[in-house]
């Protein structure tokens, strides 16, 4: 079975961005990080290159795209030339070469810890990373991913605390974590209008009524949400307190540091 994001119902519903909200979170990321024309950025899991096209329109010129899917890369080629095929866990890039990494609705499809460590390797100290993906809003156990019948961004989703801890453990300092679940709900609502119901959407994806019901039960159990996290790659900096001769370097770590900001975006009162 194809990954969820490559199925016809999802591609038709989401368009070129292949994620809830389209470029909405990309714009938020650019607004927060404020990259310049010379910022070297990796779009990790660039898909058809919609984000790369947007970043180019914003004046950025050093944009690298990486994806696993040949067909998506062929589409992306129309928007940019700096493309590579590869796995996020084994980036074809040298150490400390990037100022910024974008990973939008891709991270949950990967070996998450390994990929974060690989991002840390290729990022310069102080570089920014922005990751958007699904998380579980359920207060239950974290093993509910097993219930999803297809490999998808929902199946490896965990709660937000676990997401933040993984970033901290991998050498990042979390700057902001935002909830953007309304964008996910809107996408789900569009699928309902298109297919008749959420179950009918999953039926169209899986082609199997039992699997569709299983997906609905999994969604009910995990209560998927959408987050945006922006973090800084911790780095090697001179520390006069610990380096008497100023030649040694000390790694600054902020393990388990709490995010500076947590806000729920676009919350609206149902009344």
């Amino acid at each position: 079975m194809k990954p969820l994001y490559l199925t016809t119902p999802v591609r038709q519903g989401l368009g070129t961005c292949l994620r809830p909200g389209g470029l909405a979170l990309t714009k938020r990321i650019v607004q927060f990080i404020k990259p310049g024309p010379a910022t070297v950025v990796l779009d990790a899991g660039c898909g058809q290159g919609a984000t790369m096209g947007y970043l180019h329109d914003q004046g950025m010129r050093e944009i690298i795209g990486l994806d696993l899917d040949y067909n998506l890369l062929r589409e992306a080629k129309k928007r940019t030339s700096k493309l590579a095929r590869g796995e996020l866990a084994h980036l074809p890039l040298p150490d400390s070469c990037l100022d910024m990494v974008l990973c939008e609705c891709v991270w949950n499809l990967t070996q998450k810890r390994q990929v974060l460590e690989e991002f840390a390797r290729v990022m310069k100290p102080g570089a920014s990373i922005a990751v958007s993906d699904m998380y579980s809003r359920s207060t239950g156990s974290d093993d509910q991913g097993d219930r999803w019948p297809v490999h998808c961004c929902f199946s490896q989703a965990t709660d937000l605390d676990s997401v933040c801890k993984l970033f901290c453990d991998s050498g990042f300092s979390v700057q902001i974590v935002e909830d953007h679940t309304p964008l996910l709900k809107r996408t789900a609502a569009e699928f309902v209008f298109t297919h008749g119901s959420i179950k009918a959407f999953w039926q169209a994806v899986t082609g199997d009524s039992a699997l569709a019901e299983q997906a609905c039960r999994a969604a009910s159990g995990t209560r998927p949400g959408l987050f945006l996290l922006i973090a800084i790659r911790e780095g090697l900096v001179k520390s006069s307190e610990h380096c008497r001769d100023n030649t040694l370097l000390q790694q600054v770590t902020t393990l388990n540091r709490r995010p500076a900001i947590f806000c729920e975006a676009d919350r609206r009162d149902p009344s």
Binding site: K185, A189, F193
Partner: protein
Amino acid sequence: MSLSFLPKDMNWLCRPCGVPLEPGIVELRYLGNVFKVELLVCPKCSAVLISEDLALGRMLEVEQLLEDK
């Protein structure tokens, strides 16, 4: 997104205005979300025909979804 929910039977009249309903793009708004759909609309008073199937099917599920129920 623009989806069409026109009935099979297009022969509907707006009773107050006495004119036939016509296909038109309608914005359905709920909790800050806007969905554009094609429905039958009165060209005079802009009243919209929403079938029971649509109201109790897709629209109800969308409402519950957006309400987090």
